[in-house]
Amino acid sequence: MCEAEGVSFARALGLLPVRSIRDTSPLGCATFIALVTAAHLAVGLAVLAVYLLSGNAVWVEQFFRVPGALLLLALAGMQLAYSFLAWRGFDPGEPMRAAWGFISLAAAWEVAGTLAIQILSSGTIMNPLRGAAFWPDAAGWIRDAGHIAGGTCRFACLATGLFYALRVYRHAGFLARLLWPDRLILLGLAGYIVWEFADLGIAIQHGKHPAAAEMAEWPVDPLLWVLLLEAMLLYRSVRAMGPGWIGRCWMAFGVGVALVSLGDISSWAFAYGYLRWPWVALGWYVWLPASAAFALAPAYQLHAMRAASAGGAPTR
């Protein structure tokens, strides 16, 4: 679909720099993103079913080590490429330029984090550092650095970007209010964060000594709470405006944030014994559509910008 517009596969995946906004077919790539992610999910869930029947977890492990890892890296790359193009579509001083600047930074942190976690700290053949003498000792801190990059750094930038986007909605007079179900969800998530920190406090009192890398990840859940608040405001605002391509972009961010929150809660639940294997594996699958949503968002924005520049109505 991307190649139909004269774009090489590598450029479409964000693995090579894109020359100009005319190089890409954002809507074609959006369809490609959705289809490839759906295919991966289908295979992944089939693999989970094989494990549940056979009791052999290597199927699930290999799925996430290789095809799952490659998909996450490809989606992160596309997110970065499209976010950067969207940022370039705004001139200095335009309000949305700051939003897309921070969103692009968040995407860059995501690429760095995914590379570190999925490739450079893994023992698979995809890792070019695997044969290096320093790698066995370095793998742990490479993984930790990846979690900090893809967690705290990424979410801080994304929260700032969505804040600027909300300012634009308010300036345009389109910012909606939260409804009581939204406030209830936010209250519930705030309760989960308090419970989580209480668990942590108890663990520290009982002798746990958190490492610096772990402490660097403590802001992740409060940042996710802020992101969920922003995502809900965007969702309500988009719903009030009616369906449109600009709304699809910000709705996709909201879906991504909601899925990441779900994945984060499942990780915490497993770490503290509230969720057991194999049910925690279901939480792993959430990261695939979450990454797809974050890649789709800038693709929709670019599609709207290109369609407006061409002077036609954006195709469905």
């Binding site: 579509g89 705004f90 001139d91 335009e94 949305m96 007079g173 449109g244 600009i246 002077g311």
Partner: protein
């Protein structure tokens, strides 16, 4: 003034009056068509921006446009610029002006 001269003068006055009446009718028709095409133009502009902003948002935007539609382009362009950038919004407005306002 003789009978013939009086008839000529009456004819000229009648022609002048007829010409003034025709001119007034023409002006009235032009004013009517201009005023009746404004809602149609606003409607068409609304249909152009709805796929981007959503139908309710486009309705709200057009609701702030004056009756004479003097601020139509600046209002629509301002909102489109916020979400799509000035460059894309300006090209979009070029299309709106060419396809809708000029040809209506």
């Amino acid at each position: 003034m003789g009978e013939g001269e009086r008839r000529e003068a009456d004819g000229a006055a009648g022609d002048e009056m007829l010409s003034r009446i025709r001119g007034a009718i023409g002006e009235w028709h032009a004013r009517q068509s201009r005023e009746s095409s404004l809602p149609a133009v606003k409607g068409r502009v609304g249909r152009e921006i709805a796929p981007y902003l959503g139908p309710r948002a486009s309705g709200r935007i057009l609701g702030t446009v004056s009756e004479s539609a003097d601020n139509l382009l600046s209002t629509v362009g301002g909102v489109m610029s916020l979400f799509l950038g000035k460059r894309a919004a300006n090209r979009f407005l070029d299309h709106v002006v060419e396809d809708i306002l000029v040809r209506s």
